[in-house]
């Protein structure tokens, strides 16, 4: 089997930046990824990426992807990594296409994904009323009653988008009060067709072909709200399940030092999947470059 210098897992800002550095160092490497852009592809407006006063997520991802591909980089797109294991001096990567790859170093840059509720009805009604992207699917709920699950900035953001679209929006929040930025919170509290239900948790989602109601528990009381749309905005979890041997924190983020090294020599990690403080596109990109330079140095020494 061919042995690569480096395999990069993931092609968001961290993975793509790592690939640019790897190409420029003329490393023999490969990128394996489910999708291109990661969470950046889901972002609407970006106003804090240096050099762009304003850019949309899709535009920035397009630039990232073209930059990556300008070096004829070998990208295995649409291939999910299912295992990363180091035995002897080599790291073996397994994928959901039943393929195996080997490399001397690996950079895990697999990012984060939306957290799911884990309640009855969620799987059956995914995309049949339940959505994890208010920006994408919001306009389909014009004139309908919807519920947003969550209480942070992303829930507030969804509420403000849906205020103009839905006839009525419930925010179902399991803490005593909503979190998030003060400015957004004020706007949400002023919105006439938004009802905030604090101290409330979701028990089940039901419907026929599509969602038609949600069962919640407010204090001791259980009730069923008729809704046609459910927007899940309860945060993110790291895509780190497929790598067992590296140390992680209690959130499942891969622990790294300031050289992007994990506890396993030769396995590096970068971006939102790690315990780096602050999750930002510009930080993930910087971390990707650091991880690649660390891998390059490691190869020179081993």
């Amino acid at each position: 089997m061919r042995i690569y210098d480096l395999i990069i897992v993931g092609a968001g800002p961290a993975g793509i930046t790592a690939s640019v550095y790897a190409a420029r160092k003329r490393m023999d490497f490969l990128v394996i990824t489910g999708d291109i852009g990661g969470q950046t592809a889901w972002s609407a407006d970006i106003e804090n990426y240096t050099g762009y006063q304003f850019v949309t997520g899709p535009e920035l991802v397009d630039k990232f992807e073209k930059h990556m591909r300008s070096y004829d980089t070998n990208v295995k797109e649409g291939e999910g990594v299912t295992g990363v294991e180091k035995t002897g001096g080599l790291i073996t990567i397994k994928t959901d296409k039943e393929r195996e790859y080997q490399a001397k170093t690996v950079i895990i840059a697999s990012g984060k994904r939306s957290k799911e509720l884990g309640i009855p009805g969620e799987k059956e009604y995914k995309n049949k009323g339940i959505t994890y992207c208010a920006t994408c699917d919001g306009p389909l709920f014009s004139g309908k009653t919807v519920a947003i699950i969550g209480g942070g900035n992303s829930a507030l953001d969804a509420a403000l988008q849906l205020e103009r679209i839905a006839s009525k929006t419930y925010i179902i929040n399991n803490t005593p009060r909503l979190g998030g930025d003060a400015i957004m919170l004020q706007k949400v509290e002023k919105a006439v067709n938004v009802e905030i239900l604090n101290d409330s948790s979701v028990l089940a989602i039901s419907g026929d072909k599509f969602v038609n109601s949600i069962t919640i528990k407010s204090g001791e009381e259980e009730k069923r709200l008729p809704v046609e749309g459910i927007f899940v905005e309860i945060g993110l979890i790291p895509n780190s399940d497929f790598v067992k041997d590296v140390e992680k924190n209690n959130l499942g983020e891969i622990k790294i030092n300031n050289r992007n090294e994990t506890n396993v020599p030769g396995i590096f990690a970068a971006g939102d999947v790690t315990d780096v403080p602050e999750k930002q596109i510009v930080i993930a990109a910087g971390e990707g470059s650091k991880a690649c330079l660390s891998a390059f140095r490691y190869l020179a020494q081993h």
Binding site: G37, A41, W42, S43, A44, T56, G57, P58, V61, D62, E77, G78, N127, K128, G129, T131, C133, T135, C136, D137, G138, P139, L140, S142, Q161, I165, K209, F210
Partner: protein, 78 residues
């Protein structure tokens, strides 16, 4: 012979924009329906795909949900 390609999308959906860009990059002509403002097309999309997520592509009757590049390529013969 050019294939009949329709896309059901919303103006704000990042994956819709990526999908349309992909079609443009490959010089594929398509009809674009904004299901956020066109209720008839929204109903048509839900009926065809059995779900409510965008984008939905209809390539000569083959329904593809999401920016599934491999399936889109195969359906278009790229």
């Amino acid at each position: 012979m050019a294939k009949n390609v329709k896309i059901y999308s919303t103006p704000t959906c990042p994956w819709c924009i990526r999908t349309k860009q992909f079609l443009k990059d490959n010089s594929i002509a398509f009809e674009d329906y904004d299901v956020g403002s066109d209720q008839i097309k929204a109903d048509e999309m839900v009926a065809k795909s059995g779900q409510m997520g965008v984008p939905v592509l209809d390539i000569e009757g083959e329904i593809i949900v999401g920016f599934d590049k491999e399936r889109i390529k195969a359906a278009l013969g790229l």
